[in-house]
Amino acid sequence: MADSRTGPDGFGDFVAAALPGLLRFGHVLTGDPREAEDLVQEALARSLRRWRWVRGEDAVPYVRRAMVNTHISRWRTWQARVRLGTPPDDCADDPGLRRSEEWDLLRRALAQLPVRQRTVIVLRYYEDLPDASIAELMGCTSGTVRSQAARGLAALRPLLEPGLAGVVPKARRTSTVQGGASR
């Protein structure tokens, strides 16, 4: 039975449990806290509309798939019209979060990748998905996934290595480096 406060059966519980991970995934995928929240909202709304069918399977992969597809289709719309700038040095999204300099370095490096390369990198190294699953998710071939990943890695290497070489992973220094929107 649907509850007016929690939505259809189990949806409220699902949101409560999955939201932190989905927001985090959205942030990795987009690099922008606000964009991430928007993406999660749209994907969860879509899953709410289809909850009767979604809840039968694993809902988290469904929502993540929706996020990836929405993200790529949005980029297709914007690609030719808007060139996003580099992430700003300072944009308050949550001052309470302590973020490492390495994280900020990667955030900036990822922001310079084309969206499909970034998506492949995230799905492969954050979600640990095999290339075949990434290909299915993105509607392309495994070969395309491999080539996008290779290009993405090649682009990230020079951007990350000089910074990483100087930062010792054992004692990760932290600073209040804040993620930010690029608009």
Partner: protein, 238 residues
């Protein structure tokens, strides 16, 4: 540690975490988004149905048109709903003054807001503009209260335009919301067009929301708002 492992570690860095939403707020937000999505889907379905009906009807209609000298009335020429006259009850003339004719046709604006009583944007303008946008798909009487008289023909003359408005209000995202005078890039062209058509005073009072939406060739639309005597009103779209 390989380069890929390091990359994987960094992608799992706590820095990617975002503050979660309170439960009630999260569900309300998701339900609103779901309603918007349903509305967009319904609008697109209705538009598709109209197109299909038109395609089906054309082969039957054209021969009859050729045979009959009597003109067939178009549904788009149906009489518009009557809108309140200037100064009528509920629509004071100092908030809803008569629209003025734009200079030239390049702006795409059919009419311009009267420059009387305009105020600069304030701290409340961003939220107010979003609230107006949110309610633009309500009934006509409510729509009229939320819009300047210069936009009333858009609300009454054409069902297609109203459908576009509903789609706009359900735009996927809002990439920009700010004063038109500060807009750069394509907004600079909109700024020039509004200045030429409606004058500098209207342009300087205009707040613009760029709505990104599907189904429109250009991909986005600029929604124009102004504040007159404390009332935020929508007045056009580019």
């Amino acid at each position: 540690m390989t380069y890929q492992n390091r990359l994987s570690d960094l992608l799992h860095d706590p820095g990617w975490s975002l503050p979660t939403w309170p439960q009630e707020q999260a569900l309300a937000r998701i339900r609103r988004a779901a309603r918007r999505q349903r509305l967009v889907a319904a609008t697109l379905s209705a538009s598709a149905a109209v197109v299909v009906a038109a395609i089906v009807a054309v082969p039957f209609t054209l021969p009859r048109l050729a045979q009959s000298p009597r003109p067939v009335p178009s549904p788009r020429l149906a009489p518009s709903p009557v809108v309140p006259a200037v100064g009528s009850a509920g629509f004071p003339a100092n908030i809803y003054p008569a629209a003025i004719t734009p200079h030239g046709t390049a702006s795409g604006l059919g009419a311009c807001p009267a420059p009387t009583g305009l105020q600069p944007a304030g701290l409340a303008t961003p939220a107010a503009a979003l609230a107006v946008l949110h309610h633009l798909d309500s009934g006509l009487a409510h729509q009229l209260r939320l819009t300047d008289r210069s936009a009333w023909p858009l609300l009454t003359a054409s069902g297609r335009r109203a459908a576009t408005m509903r789609a706009l209000r359900s735009g996927l995202t809002l990439p920009y919301s700010g004063p038109l005078r500060a807009g750069v890039g394509e907004l600079a062209a909109v700024r020039r067009a509004v200045t030429v058509a409606c004058g500098r005073r209207v342009m300087r009072s205009t707040w613009v929301i760029v709505s990104l939406l599907r189904g429109r060739p250009s991909g986005d639309a600029e929604l124009l708002f102004l504040t007159r005597r404390g009332h935020l009103l929508w007045y056009g779209m580019q």
